[in-house]
Structure formats: C-alpha cells, structure tokens
Amino acid sequence: MLITNLFFYIFSIITIASACMVIAGKNPVHSVLFLILCFFNAAGIFLILGAEFLALILVIVYVGAVAVLFLFVVMMLDVDFTRLRAGFLAYLPIGGLIGFVMFVELVMVLGTWKLDFNLPTNVLTNELSNTRALGNIIYTEYIYFFQLSGLILLVAMIGAIVLTINHKQTAKRQNIFNQVIRDPKESVKNINVKPGQGI
C-alpha cells in the first residue's frame, strides 16, 4: 500500500510539473517532449488504478500518434513563436483576471466536495480483464455512442478527402486494358521521312 502511494505521488508530481513546463517552455519542441512525459506519467496513474487498457491506449494513441504528429508539425512548419507571443503582455491583465476568477471558483467548488478517503483501489470488481470488461459494455449498453463515434470518424474521412483530393481532368492516367488490347499494326506506323522536310 505504501509503495502504491509512493508511486502515485511520484507520478502525479511529475505529471503536474511537466504540464507546467509545456506552457512555460520557450522552445516548442521541448514543450511537446514535456507533453509526452506528461502522458507517460498519466498512464502510470492509470496503471496504479488497475486500468491497464486505458494506460496502454494513452501511450499508443497519444504518445505514439498525436504527440509525434505535433512534433512533426512543430519541426516542419516554420512558425515564428516569438511573434505569436508578441501580444502576451498586452493580454496578461485581462487573461490573468479571468484565470484568477476561474481559480477562485474552482476552489469554491472543491470546498463543497466531500472527500472520501476509502476509494476503491481497483475499480473493477469482477474477475474479467480490463479489455473484456470494456468490450462487454461498449458493444451492448453503449453501442449507440460507439456507432455515433464511428459516424464522426466517417465524416472526418470524407472531409479530409473532399478538401484535399484534386482530380485533374487533363492528367494522363495509365489504362492497362487499353494498353494490352492495342494492336501493334495500328499503333506503329513506318514513315519514310525525307531529309530536311520533317513529318
């Protein structure tokens, strides 16, 4: 129990610290790397909770795909971050005020929250594995949400194709059927070109 608590605190402290570094870092590449560190530690907390499926999905999807994509974008697009930060000081007072109000409100929200220290350490009560337990409800109770998410992904796919594909009518495409069916007698012509005249 002590070891679990110890690891929980280690993971949480690193998560929070690296999250702060993401927004404080001057170099955007460092920010993305800290974001990856943040994801890894969040995955660690999921593991302590016994949610190994969520932990691995977090690592595979967020670290493996999303964060690496971020890294690519940051490195390939030459965004001038010093210019983006130019208005920072001008917006600081109003931004700071909104942030402060939100913070006070969140503290008030936390004040009404009854803390329960007897939280279950393992959320799953039965003997099923994580993946199987998720599968059991995703395809039965929550089939509606699952299918709706599928439709949203379909829209994303159609959208990406509509906005990027460019069918040029003038482009010459290979037509294998026409190539095979051609008769050499019709396609090749022998012309006796007289010198100095051209075809």
Partner: protein, 476 residues
C-alpha cells in the same frame, strides 16, 4: 428491456445508412453523380419527414435511455428536415456556377442532419456531445469546400478552431456535471439536483455548458465567428448554417435547461436573459452599417436568436411554445430570403452587396415583392408571420413577468426594422437598374413554397400554434 429497444431511432438509422449508401452511389457512378446523389438525398429526407409525421415510428426511449423521441423532438426534427430539403434543392444551380459539383456535398448535409437529429432526441450528456460534434464536423468541411477561394478557407478554419474551443468548454462543463451528480442521464441529474439544490460544482458546469451551447447558436458574447464565417462560406452553406443547425442547437438548449436543470432556473434564467438582451441589441445595431447581404443576414440571425431565447428565459410552457413557433417561422423566412438572394444573378455572378439589388422592382416585380415580404416579416411587421412570431414570444415574457426583456425586445425590433427597410428602399426606389438573369424553376418553387406560409400565416395561426403547443407539452 424497453431501454434497449432501438425502434424509436429508426429515422436516424435510416438517414445514416442512406448517407453511406449514397456515398457508394456517388463513388461508383461516374457521370452526373452530383445530380443523382442530390436527388436521392432529397427523396430520402422527404420520406423520413413523412414517416416521422405519420406516427408509424413508436415514441419513447431507445438505446439504454440515451435516446428519447417524443412530440417535441419530432416537431423540431421535421423543421430540420424541411430546412435541409430546401437547402439541397436550391444548392445545385449555385454550386454549378461556382464550379463545385461534388457528390459529397449532399452526403455531408445528410450526415450533419443525422447529428442534429441525435442532438434533438438526446437524453443524456454523452449523446448530446456526440450529436453536436457529428452536426458541426460536416459544417466545417462544407464551409471551406470552396478550396480555391481564400475567404472560404478562412471561414472554414475559423469556424473549425472556434468550434473546437466551444466543444472544449462544453466538455469541461459536462465533465463537472457528471462528476458531481454521478449520472449522465438528464432525468437522474434533475433528480439529484432536486435534493442537492446548491451544488457549486454543477453550477460551475452549467455555466460552461451554457457558454458552449451559446457558441453554437452564435449569440452575444460568443458571436464573433458568425459574420466572417457567413460571409466566407458558399451562400447555400450560409443559408444552411443560419437555418437547420440553429434549430437543433436551440432545441437542445431548451431541452437541457428544462428537463435537466429545472430546479436551477434562478441560476440559468439570469444568464439567458443577459445573452438574449445583448444579442437583440447587437443584432439590431451592428447590422446597420453592413453592405454585404450575407454579413447583414448573419447579424440579423444573431438578433433573431436573441428573440428566440426570450422564450427559453421564461422557462414556462407558453415560452417554449412561443420559441417553437418563432423557430418554425424563422426557418421559412431564412430559407426564403436566402433563396431570393441566390436566385438573383447579374453578369453571371451572384449578388453580394445590398446596392446590387437596386432596380429589382422594375426587372422582376414578383421576386421584388416576395423579397420585400420576407424582409418585412423579418422586421416583424403585421400581418406577416414574423410579427406573430415576435408577438407570441413577447406575450409569454409578459405572462412570466419579464417586462424589461419584453420592452428591450420591442425596442430592438424597432431599430432592426431600419436596416430591413433600407433594403426595400433600394429595391423599389433606387434609380440605378441592374440586369438580372432569369430565375430557374427550382428556385421559384422554393421561393413560392416558403413565401406562402409567411404571407398567409394570419389566416389560420392555429394550424401552427396547436402543433407547437402539443410539442412543447411533451417537454413538461
């Protein structure tokens, strides 16, 4: 097992499957794929509209209580379907003229309609969010579908980024509501709230939820995206953005507030009153200086959303009835006005500026008359339908004692009448005469179909008010 039953969701399933089939049709049909797909999608939407209104589909819960279809949702679904059918029909001529004949266009509209119908019949906060995303994602694509136009791309990008921001706020609010109430289903949250009335976490979540939804219907102070996006998008998409998604989002707003947070009415009523007053004032004052018709109609729609929210602010049966009546008339007016604007072309270009309308009364008196009727109706001048829409809303506000709201509303509509009348003055009295091209039969059909109810509404208002009242009753 009643909750797992899926029959009430048949219309949504039908459109979703139809959209996928039409996608295949479009891919495999080489010639005239746009015409075929757009014809079939109009057919699909019309048949669903008929099925919904013939009471063949059982009402009730579906999918483990995530889905609820009742008179209220069926009424607004019919509105959404009507608006989408109109938009698909008026699109084809315009799309050809700007060189976008893509069969994906009607398919994306269909998928967006599925999202709207999911929103309207949502019964928990997860389907609320998924419906909202499914509704907006096709709209982002459609707004930027004119790839070679800088303005269209900018509109799409702006809409996408701000839409994503509003989704973040919405999700944050929803997570707080779920975390503190312990349930995602509306009625369970309402039960929890009736016992713990002053739960600060849920109040905090409610504020974020309101902000997210206000973003989607573009009301002040979350309206900044609307004029730019409306101006940059292809005009048919602007018409779509101003009609069907607004119906869906307003309905969702009403449903969440009335069925999920009835015991917090003191809290959300204040927010809605503020939003409503601010939008009515901005809608009437900011539109005065506009010269672009699409921008003007964007501000006009912000103002109309303000009027509609008066109905929600009352939180009573007569308020919601007024809201539904207003939404219905608003849909007819908006689709009709946009069809008129789309139908008018000079020198092979669609008109964009208000001054282009001058001389219309001499070239095409019929369309000039109908367009002025639409504008008079938008301004709320009796005996046109727009007057009755405002009348029922103000009546409900006075019944619930919200006098300030009603008075500011009346004043705002007086100011708003100015810019509608300015357009009518240009149509009838300006000297400069433009040569307008003849109008296609399709456009005429939609213009007449939308104009008749708007002009002749005063003969039998009970035709609509009875339906709206029956629909609103099922919410209480």
């Amino acid at each position: 097992m009643t909750g797992l039953f899926y029959l009430p969701a048949l219309p949504e399933l039908f459109i979703a499957l139809g959209a996928m089939v039409l996608l295949m049709v479009g891919v495999f049909k080489k010639e005239r794929s746009y015409e075929t797909v757009s014809f079939l999608s109009v057919l699909l939407l019309t048949s669903v509209l008929v099925i919904i209104n013939l009471d063949y589909i059982p009402l009730g819960y579906a999918f483990n209580f995530s889905f609820l279809s009742d008179d209220f949702s069926n009424y607004t679904k019919s509105l959404i379907l009507l608006a989408s059918i109109g938009i698909i029909i008026i699109s084809s001529g315009y799309l050809k003229s700007i060189g976008i004949v893509k069969f994906e266009y009607p398919v994306l509209i269909l998928l967006s309609v599925v999202g709207m119908m999911v929103m309207v019949s949502s019964n928990d906060i997860v389907s609320l969010y998924l419906g909202l995303e499914l509704q907006s994602l096709p709209l982002y694509v459609l707004a930027s579908i004119r790839r070679e136009s800088k303005k269209s791309t900018e509109a799409g990008l702006k809409y996408f980024v701000l839409g994503a921001l509003s989704s973040c706020m919405l999700l944050y609010g929803l997570s707080l509501i779920y975390g503190f109430s312990g349930s995602i289903i509306y009625s369970d949250i309402a039960n929890f709230l009736s016992e713990n009335n002053s739960n600060k976490g849920i109040l905090f979540g409610l504020a974020f939820l309101t902000a997210g939804l206000a973003f989607k219907i573009s009301v002040v102070p979350f309206h900044m995206w609307a004029p730019d996006v409306y101006e940059g998008s292809p005009t048919t998409i602007t018409a779509f953005l101003a009609s069907a998604p607004k119906v869906a989002a307003v309905t969702l707003f009403t449903k969440v507030m009335v069925s999920c947070f009835p015991s917090l009415i003191d809290q959300w009523q204040l927010m809605i009153i503020f939003i409503s007053i601010a939008s009515m004032l901005l809608g009437s004052f900011a539109a005065i200086g506009q010269n672009n018709i699409k921008r003007l109609l964007a501000y006009s729609s912000i103002g109309h959303m303000g009027f509609i929210l008066i109905g929600l602010a009352t939180g009573t049966l007569s308020g919601v009835t007024g809201l539904l009546i207003y939404l219905t008339i608003y849909i007819f007016m908006v689709v009709g006005t946009f069809s008129c604007v789309l139908a008018l072309r000079t020198n092979d270009v669609n008109i964009e500026n208000i001054s282009d309308l001058s001389g219309l009364s001499k070239v095409n008196p019929v369309i000039a008359f109908i367009l002025s009727m639409f504008l008079f109706s938008l301004a709320g001048i009796p005996p046109l339908a727009g007057f009755f829409a405002k009348f029922y809303i103000f009546l409900s506000a006075i019944e619930s004692g919200l006098y300030t709201l009603a008075i500011i509303g009346v004043l705002a509509s007086v100011v708003g009448a100015f810019y509608y009348l300015r357009i009518i003055k240009i149509i009838y009295f300006d000297e400069n005469i433009n040569i307008f091209e003849p109008i296609s039969k399709r456009m005429k059909l939609i213009i007449y179909v939308t104009a008749i109810p708007v002009i002749l509404f005063f003969i039998r208002p009970s035709l609509l008010t009875d339906l709206a009242e029956k629909a609103a009753l099922s919410l209480f």
